[in-house]
Amino acid sequence: MTAVLDATGLVKRFGSTVALDGFDLRVSAGEITGLVGHNGAGKTTFARVTAGLVAPESGVVRVAGADVTRAAARVRPLLGLAPQELALYPTATARENLGAFAGLYGIRRREARIRIRQLADTLMLGDVLDRRVRDLSGGQQRRLQAATAMVHRPRLLLLDEPTVGADPVTRDALLAVVRGAADDGAAVVYTTHYLPELDTLDATLAVADHGRIIARGNRAALLATVPGHAVADFDRPPPPLAAPAGSPAEVCREGTRLVITAPEPASALVPLLAAHPDAVAHLRSIELCPPTLDDLYRHLVKS
């Protein structure tokens, strides 16, 4: 598949702080990549480098084959950027904000009017288009910010924590419109700390840590590398069960509970209980906790 975004070996320092340290990322047309990582992992710096706001010390970012540093004029019309902080004109109306950004991207006024109406309908902003931004709720402002990044149908959409502080309705609307942009062929880099959103977006995953990508790929494949848990609850403290020799499972007793941590915890639990039928008689419940994206992130950063 064609890579719309291809970043290779990016290095960027701010004084003694290394923000990017060999950052690589490729995102294809129609793909949403969830870029996750702790604060300071390099996510925002990467977005700023890709948007041409920060020059990397080394490395290359190509958008649709054009180098962001050397061919900025060719790249910028292809980009849609929604930064982490709200960046809107508070004294202007929502419609005027959208019109201003559409104009900056050279969209003619008639075409802009149609596009603004479409985005407003999708993002539930239709009723507030003629209200000043400062009078909108936080959620409406968030949706408007995303809309201003998408008004020109960019080929690469950079969304830096677009749902921070957003209510569930706002979040759902934003996620739907982002998914729609990807379905229309845009490549999306979606930075977030709310990992369940990536399930909703059906995004691939890129985990950043200390300025580089430490894991990249399909969510299911990455999750398969992370231990999950099975919790067996007994009506009295269970006997000290041990995992069979050579098993990757870890077994831990917590009062009346037995916690098994393993890549496939259910598979690890079954032989363990089968070997102790006396304990099974006192079993009250079994809870399976497959690894979540949060677990994956913690596991990757820890390891």
């Binding site: 064609t2 890579a3 291809d6 700023r48 948007a51 041409g52 706001l53 920060v54 020059a55 190509r62 649709a64 084959g65 054009a66 962001v68 540093t69 050397r70 061919a71 900025a72 004029a73 060719r74 910028r76 019309p77 980009l79 950027l81 930064p83 902080e85 709200l86 960046a87 809107l88 004109y89 508070p90 004294t91 202007a92 005027e96 019109g99 201003a100 950004f101 559409a102 104009g103 900056l104 991207y105 050279g106 969209i107 003619r108 075409e111 000043r132 201003t148 020109h152």
Partner: protein, 270 residues
């Protein structure tokens, strides 16, 4: 989709006009104050005209030119605040990330501010003409040339000021001091010949001094004396533009330059 600079510049100028129209209070205030002070100070300047050395000048000439210079300097604050707002609203980086080049953005933002300042000048002189019979003896073209040159100078000095200010409060406080100082030094409030000697000596350092000289030449019918003040105003304007470009560029040095697109097609990576 058209990506021509003129289209983007027009869009930015349209948007800046909206932003000015949304917050017209300060501009209206500085214009109304000018109208009131022209009315109030005209008798004073008429009386002073008999003791001021130099070409004979009607009181309304000094009142209109002085207030036009002083209140356009206060209006400078308004223009600078609009530029500073882009930073406080975090929209500046979004502008830089757009296809619009640095020059297009600045020109698009500056054009409506320039028009607003020029309109303020036109209103003040129009009022002086209608109410008190102001008559530029060198011709209306001379007065218009002065107003346009001074408006451009004010605009570019304001652009420079906006890059130096760190916050709206700082800009407001510094703007008031600079506007008053420049007006006093330039002779907008008290004619230069009546200033203390040490102030007279440093008066030419004020762009207001040259603006008033230009206006005086247009109003008293000495167009031969118009060239030098207009040239000096041009130099002040260039200095303001230089400050805006240098400091603005260093503050946003992280932004990559927009190079003109080559005619080759982008190479798609597979």
């Amino acid at each position: 989709m058209s990506r021509q600079p003129a289209t983007r510049l027009a869009a930015e100028a349209r948007h800046q006009t909206v932003l000015i129209a949304r917050d017209p209070g300060p501009m209206i205030g500085y214009t109304v104050m000018g109208l009131l002070l022209i009315t109030a100070t005209r008798p004073l300047y008429t009386a002073l005209g008999t003791v001021i050395p130099g070409p004979p000048s009607a009181g309304i000439d000094q009142a209109a030119a002085g207030m036009a210079v002083m209140f356009s300097l206060f209006a400078l604050k308004v223009g600078a605040a609009h530029l500073l707002n882009e930073r406080t609203w975090h929209t500046w980086e979004r502008l830089l990330a757009s296809p619009a080049g640095f020059g297009e953005i600045l020109a698009g933002k500056a054009l409506p501010i320039f028009i607003a300042i020029a309109a303020q000048q036109a209103l003040l002189f129009g009022f002086a003409t209608a109410a008190f019979g102001l008559h530029p003896r060198a011709g209306w073209w001379a007065l218009a040339a002065c107003a346009l040159a001074w408006s451009a100078c004010v605009l570019l000095l304001g652009s420079g000021a906006s890059t130096l200010a760190r916050s709206p409060a700082q800009l407001s406080a510094a703007g008031d001091i600079v506007a008053l100082l420049t007006s006093v030094l330039g002779g907008a409030i008290i004619p230069v010949p009546l200033l203390p000697g040490w102030l007279r000596d440093i008066a030419p350092a004020s762009p207001g001094y040259w603006a008033l000289n230009a206006y005086r030449a247009a109003l008293t019918g000495t167009p031969s004396q118009l060239g030098r003040p207009l040239l000096v105003l041009g130099a002040f304007a260039l200095a303001g533009a230089g400050i805006a470009a240098l400091i603005g560029a260093s503050q946003h040095s992280t932004a990559l330059p927009v190079r003109r697109q080559r005619r080759t097609r982008p190479e798609l990576t597979g």
